[in-house]
Symmetry: C2
Subunit: 347 residues, 2 copies
Amino acid sequence: MFIYALDTMATGVSAINRQLRLAARPQGLPGPEVWQLTDEEVPEPATREILVKISHISLDPAIRGWMDDVRSYIPPVALGEVMRAQAVGLVIASRHPAFAEGSWVTGLFGVRQYALSDGQGVRIVDPQLAPLPRYLGALGITGLTAYFGMLEIGRPRAGETVVVSGAAGAVGSIAGQIGRLLGARTVGIAGGGEKCQWLTDTLGFDEIVDYKLGNVRRALRRAAPDGIDVYFDNVGGPLLDDALAVLGVGGRIILCGAISQYNTGEGVKGPANYLSLLVNRASMTGLIVFDYEDRYDEATDQLMAWLDAGTLIAREHVVRGGIDAFPQLLLDLFAGANTGKLVLELV
Amino acid sequence: MFIYALDTMATGVSAINRQLRLAARPQGLPGPEVWQLTDEEVPEPATREILVKISHISLDPAIRGWMDDVRSYIPPVALGEVMRAQAVGLVIASRHPAFAEGSWVTGLFGVRQYALSDGQGVRIVDPQLAPLPRYLGALGITGLTAYFGMLEIGRPRAGETVVVSGAAGAVGSIAGQIGRLLGARTVGIAGGGEKCQWLTDTLGFDEIVDYKLGNVRRALRRAAPDGIDVYFDNVGGPLLDDALAVLGVGGRIILCGAISQYNTGEGVKGPANYLSLLVNRASMTGLIVFDYEDRYDEATDQLMAWLDAGTLIAREHVVRGGIDAFPQLLLDLFAGANTGKLVLELV
C-alpha cells in the first residue's frame, strides 16, 4: 500500500551527513541564532550498532523543553550537540543482530540525515501497514502519549465530558478521538474555523471551542454544562485556568504539555484557579509517555486496530525539505500552523 | 478523666442565644465590619430535632472560603446567616430518638450559644474518652482531614519523604505524625523557633524548615535530598512553588488548603512551577473530607488508638471567651498565632 523507493534511499550514501546542532540556549522562541548546521562524514556502525538513513523527522513541542538547561525527565541537549528528535529511517548498514539492513525503524535519532544507534529505544516499523510519517504520529510517541494519557490518567467513563486543548494538534486530535472511542462526549479547543470544522466533521468531536473567538470560559460552560470530567491539557496558560473554572467534581486533568508557556521568555504563568482542584476533589497529573515503554506494543496494536477500522483518523502534516528546514518548521509548530502531526520529510 | 460540669451547663438555659452573623462579604482579612452579633431567644426543638448548648467552637481556615460568594464544595454562608462552624455541645433538649438529653455531640452548629439540629451530620462524642476540644481537633474534622488526605491521597510508603506545610497547625501537626506512623521521613514547614522545636521534640518530625528564616527552597532540598514524595499542602503560595521545585518523581501533592491565599484580596497566585508535575509524572489532588463521611468511624477509631498508645500527640490551643471573641480568634488563626488546634471555649 505505502511503497517507498527503497532502492534510491538505500543506495548512494551521500558523502556528507548534515546535522542540526544546538549552538545557544534560546530565550523565548528559538530563532536562527540558536542553531548551527554542520556537514560531517557519514559514520560507520561499530559492533552492535546500526546506521540509519533518516527519512522523516518529528516536530514536537517537547523539543522546546529539551533546549533549556533545566532539570527535567530527560537531560537537556548540550550546547554543540545534535538536536534531539524522534525520527523514522532506513537501516542501511547493520552490525546489530536485531536490525536487518533494509528495515525501517523509529527512534530518537536526532535532526540529521544519518544516525548511528545501538538499538536502544529503537522500534522496527512496517511501511506496508501505514505510511511512514504515521509512525511519528498516531502510531508513534504522539499516539502513545494520547493513549496512555487518556487510558491511564484520564480514564473517562461513558457519558463523561472530555475536553482537549490543542485539539487539532498531533496529540490532541488523537486524544479526543480516544475519548470518543471510550464513550465520552468530546469537546475540542482549537483555533480557527478550518481546524474546528475538521475536528467536528472528520474526527467526530461533539463540540468545539474556537479560542480565537474569545470568551473561552463561557463557551466551555456551554459545551460542558455539568462540568469537565477529563481535561487533556497540551496548552497551559489562560486556557488551563478556564478549564479549571469549569472543572467538574472528581475531574482529572492530564498534564501533557503547556505549549503556550514554552516560549514566553518570562517564566511560566501558574494556574490561578488551581484551588478548583481542591473544591472539586479533582486531580492534575503529569504524563511522560516514556514511563509506559513496556506497554508500547499493546498500545500500538490497539491504535492500529482503530485506524484499520476507520474509527480513529490520523492526519500528518508533512513538509518536504532538508535539515535546514527544521528551525522554521519548529516555529510553525509553535504558531499552530499545523493540523495533525507535523513531520519533516527529508529530500 | 475529663470531667465537665454537666449540671451547670445543662441547667439554667439563659434567656438569650447570642449568634454571630455574616453582615458583609470580606475583602481580604475579615474585619469587624463583616460581622453582626445578634441576641435572640433560645429556640425550642421541633419533632426530630435537638437543642444543643454549644461549649466549644472550631476555628478553621476553611471558614474563610465559606464567606465568599463563589461556587464551592458547599454553598457560601448567605449574608445575614449565622456563621457556619464546627462545634461541640451538650444536648439539653431532644425530640430526636437518636440523641438523648445529656449527650455530647459535634456538628456544624455555627457560631452561637444554642443550636437546633435535625441530627444530620451530628456525631455523639464521649468526654470520658478525650477532652471535648479534641473532638474538634485530632478526633474531629481536623484529624479526619489529615487521616484521609494521608491515607487516601498521599499514601506514603515506608522510607519516603513526606513534607507538610502549616505543620504546627491543626491539620498539619496530625498529618505529619500520620506520615511518621506510616513509616515515612517527615519534614515540617512552620514559622518560628517555638513551633519548630515542638514539632521535632514533641511530635517526632525528622526535620523542620522554618520559613521565617527564608530560603525555603534550599532548606527543602537539604531536608529532602531525593525529592519530596508526598507534600501535604495547607498553605499554597510561594511555599507550594518551593515544594514543586523539590518534588520527586511520582510525587503526590495533597491539596488540603491554601491559607496564604485566602485573604490577599487580590486573587489567588497560581503555582508557577506546576509543570514540575509533568516532568515528575506527579499529581496534585484536592481533598474534601466530607467525601469520606461513611468512613469517619473507622478513622476515628484508628486516631483514638494512636492517641491512646501515645504515638499520636494532639494539642489544642483553647481560648475561653464569648461569641464576640470569634472574629479576633479567626484573625489570630490567619496570623498563625496558634500551635495545634485553635478552639473557642464558650464561657
